[in-house]
Amino acid sequence: MEGAELAGKILSTWLTLVLGFILLPSVFGVSLGISEIYMKILVKTLEWATIRIEKGTPKESILKNSASVGIIQRDESPMEKGLSGLRGRDFELSDVFYFSKKGFEAIVEDEVTQRFSSEELVSWNLLTRTNVNFQYISPRLTMVWVLGVIVRYCVLLPLRVTLAFIGISLLVIGTTLVGQLPDSSLKNWLSELVHLTCCRICVRSLSGTIHYHNKQYRPQKGGICVANHTSPIDVLILTTDGCYAMVGQVHGGLMGIIQRAMVKACPHVWFERSEMKDRHLVTKRLKEHIADKKKLPILIFPEGTCINNTSVMMFKKGSFEIGGTIHPVAIKYNPQFGDAFWNSSKYNMVSYLLRMMTSWAIVCDVWYMPPMTREEGEDAVQFANRVKSAIAIQGGLTELPWDGGLKRAKVKDTLKEEQQKNYSKMIVGNGSLS
């Protein structure tokens, strides 16, 4: 009996502390500075660890397999020059040399594959999962690492899980309650309050430190917000600073419950799986949404899939055909404190969340950018590329023309057809067939 009473007492003190220090300030959007202190200690520790590691490693083992530097000497001559055989432009047996060489260059090195694995760190951050290159250095470092493991798994993890649980429950309950009210400005205000509070709680459950830049460009009502996509947490990060109408597929399970609750309080746009395939239907509904200037801005991730935050891949043109004002947002995570990339082929949602909650922290920068609209004579694809460049430059990411869908599916045949067309023009288009 005594044990149970003691446990009960500890639990209740624990909960009151949590309530007082974390939950209440979230409601008012106030920070007590606890996380700042935590971050300062963390940064000092990691700096110390870096110095120790650098002192420890011998010079030669810095064999940087840096992904950005090319490892082969590329011959970037266009197809015509590369194919010039003995006779000029007609087909020859030797044409196969050019294509096979290009093929092998791609086999040895291609710029897409490396974007779907986590970014490698320059110096270790005391998490086993990022230990790719780093070797045993000293007992003191090992001690600090062990301490880190204890802190992360025994202190931070339970706290974070509690917070996440409270956050999600509050969200579901809150939005359902608010949904009972008739439509009015009070309802909107309450729904915003509930959304913001719960998002702040969830962000704290990940020890998130977010810097928002250029808040004057925050997306306005009736617009569309586009951002680069690294993980589902992107949504959380953006909604902590403003309310958005989300677009997506209806899921089952926990996500489904959350979705259904949220849509009661605030008009999100959820589609059934079958409806998602019908692009006209999707476009029509989104157009209706933004036509109503009172509705919240829509949040869309045009890449369509999670990329590892070192580059921005092709933006699908669908979001840019709807019209309206586009508010670009660039999100860049600091990999030093925790790897936010969700490799959906490697981890499912639950293990991903657990990894997030056992990292040091999630630190990221969010840059709001001035709104952009489609110009005269610009088609959706060009507009999409323009926005993509702007986001890449702002976030310090590289730009790639490839489709993020390459992660799962094969390359579209249209790209191959282009190559075939170019080649055909050369061997046939000249007319000399004899």
Binding site: L93, G103, F104, I107, T113, K410, K416, E417, Q420
Partner: protein, 195 residues
């Protein structure tokens, strides 16, 4: 933590090096690449792993190149097999042509072996001859739907006729080599790996 190093030791590194002529540094880079392509850490590559490479999938000869990694109907290629095919594209160094020990097999990146690799890309059934039919099929791969059947047949006929010396309607490896005598094969079929 512990002493996990970034390079997994390459099994049989020495024999692979002797067979292919790659330097230790190049082998390490290729091994790293092999592991990166092997997404599920199976220890070998399947056709699908290679098809995931975007730039290879849009290559008109992509399928033929991928097939060349899987000789004799195999479905998997391990690291030695992977490197053996890549060795065909190793640039010809001076040291390779100097000491031609007659007892040692010809290096994989010799002119003859490079030409043989290209020959294989055409020779679909591996019988040592490129028939008109095979030529047509490979041409079709390279041009897709852009060229009519008639035009393609003309091209195939012309090409086989020009190279065919003994009049059997097919191009053997010797005839293939002869018709490409003047071509700088060593330069066109080489990829230099930077140190």
């Amino acid at each position: 933590m512990g002493s996990r190093s970034s390079h997994v030791a390459i099994p049989d590194a020495d024999s692979i090096r002797r067979e292919t002529g790659f330097s230790q540094a190049s082998l390490l880079r290729l091994h790293h690449r092999f592991r990166a392509l092997d997404r599920n850490k199976k220890g070998y590559l399947s056709r699908m792993d290679l098809q995931q490479i975007g730039a290879l999938a849009v290559n008109p000869l992509g399928d033929r190149i991928i097939e060349s990694f899987f000789p004799d109907g195999s479905q998997q290629v391990d690291f030695p097999g992977f490197v053996r095919v890549l060795a065909h594209f190793r640039p010809v160094e001076d040291e390779d042509t100097e000491t031609q020990d007659p007892k040692k097999p010809e290096p994989l990146n010799s002119r003859r072996n490079k030409l043989h690799y290209a020959f294989q890309l055409y020779d679909l059934d591996g019988d040592g001859k490129i028939s008109r039919h095979e030529m047509l099929q490979v041409l079709r791969l390279m041009v897709g739907v852009q060229v009519t059947e008639e035009q393609l047949e003309n091209i195939a006929d012309r090409t086989v006729q020009e190279a065919d010396e003994d009049g059997d309607g097919a191009v053997s490896f010797v005839e293939f080599t002869k018709s490409l005598e003047k071509m700088d094969v060593e330069q066109k079929m080489s990829i230099r790996i930077l140190k």
